[in-house]
Amino acid sequence: MKLIDISKILEAKVYSGEEKLNDLEIDRAGAADMMSDVLAFAKPGMLLITGLNTPQVVRTASIVGIATVVIVRKKQIPAETIQAAKMFGIPLLHSPLPMYTACGVLYAHNLKDIRAF
């Protein structure tokens, strides 16, 4: 699915990576709140849904090759996090949906989990 469609489904605000919205194809996603969890299971090219909004989450994404980060639950995204996302060239989205719903709607739109990578 195109990132632009994902951003619409998630009713998300795009904080970084606007230029990739129309081109980036995502077909796998996962959700986690612990950095070590992400490091353990994440696969290159996937989309990560997380309740964390620290700059680390972007740094972690860059290290494991996560293609897009979607932050849920948080009211605000710190400027450092947005800055880090721009620096690493990682699209950063902020969705007002609860984590469960965000995962659910993406799953319903045929986004796969990371098992069969």
Partner: protein, 318 residues
């Protein structure tokens, strides 16, 4: 059985009878002032994971809040009361010079789990629990055993400049990549690992391997920032068949490595967990992503993590 145990205890008492409260106690006690509320005491105890909190006014020990006091306050709907109204005021204390047999005696007679240590002016100088006594005894034992002397050499001595995996000499000044972990801000952790990944890619290392190295190093770097209480270094060496990474710190070290290596074990605080760390998976991840890994640690001296990552072809032919 019993007589043997008694004899053993007698012998132990002989060995350790000179240990005094001041050697065993934990200084820098977390304490609270009497005008705070019980609710605040409860929060502090939860955050610091402690079950008793000394109450101190102008350095002088005036009381103690225990879990029992908290429960009582909750039951009586007095959790918003100031501490001085509820705290235990009749305290059994220990002086810094009291010796192990005397302290033991107090533990058995009172059944309390902890004693504040106060000087002759009633100032709180430390706290002592049964655990501290056990640790003190183990510490003494450590001095008695040669085996531990040898382990100490790993961190102190010449072995620092040898590979923990292959034993060959390594020259850290000649490392292909070096990064100094000299910050304490958790939000910066991973900066070194991200640089290392860029460096490896610049050297033409395959993405997949660079990624493994970066993930494992990220975990080690984060541990230095979160747990060590000191600064540290990342070194990376490139060899024809493999990549070697060393992450070293000079901090407080790991008391029980076996425990620390278990997945899910973590000493991280709630605050750290809120930032996404503290799943207790870091060391497991290092293990998962590296081909060989050794950790050595000495309490009070630091931690060294060494990892090897085989380059593809070498791994296949090995």
């Amino acid at each position: 059985m019993k007589p043997t145990v008694d004899k053993l205890i007698d012998q132990m008492q002989m060995l350790f009878k000179d240990l005094a409260a001041k050697d065993l106690m934990v200084p820098n006690v977390i304490s609270i002032s009497p005008d705070r509320t019980m609710e605040q005491a409860k929060e502090l105890m939860r955050l610091k994971k402690i079950s008793g909190l000394p109450v101190v006014e102008n350095d002088i020990l005036v009381g103690l809040v225990s879990i029992e006091d908290i429960i009582k306050a909750l039951e009586r709907h007095r959790i918003h009361d100031p501490i001085y109204k509820i705290m235990t005021k009749n305290l059994v204390v220990v002086s810094p010079d009291e010796t192990l047999p005397q302290i033991f005696d107090k533990f058995t007679r009172t059944g309390f789990g902890r004693f504040p240590v106060v000087d002759d002016q009633k100032r709180l100088v430390g706290i002592i629990t049964k655990e501290d006594i056990l640790r003190g005894i183990l510490e003494e034992f450590r001095l008695l055993y040669v085996r531990d002397k040898r382990r100490q050499d790993v961190i102190d001595g010449e072995a620092l400049n040898r590979s923990l995996i292959t034993g060959e000499e390594i020259n850290k000044l000649g490392a292909d990549f070096a990064f100094s972990i000299d910050y304490v801000e958790v939000s910066l952790s991973g900066v070194g690992a991200a640089r290392l990944k860029d460096f490896l890619k610049g050297r033409g290392i395959e993405e997949e391997i660079a990624r493994k190295v970066a993930i494992a190093s990220y975990e080690a770097e984060t541990n230095v920032v979160i747990h060590s209480g000191s600064s540290g270094n990342i070194y990376c060496f490139l060899y024809p068949e493999y990549i070697r990474v060393r992450v070293e710190d000079h901090g407080k070290g790991i008391e029980d490595l076996d425990k620390a290596m278990q997945e899910g074990y973590s000493t991280a605080t709630d605050q750290i967990r809120e930032m996404g760390f503290g799943a207790g998976m870091g060391i497991s991840n290092m293990h998962r992503y590296s081909d060989k890994m050794v950790i050595v640690s000495e309490v009070g001296k630091g931690v060294i993590v060494e990892m090897q990552f085989f380059l593809k072809d070498a791994a296949n032919s090995a």
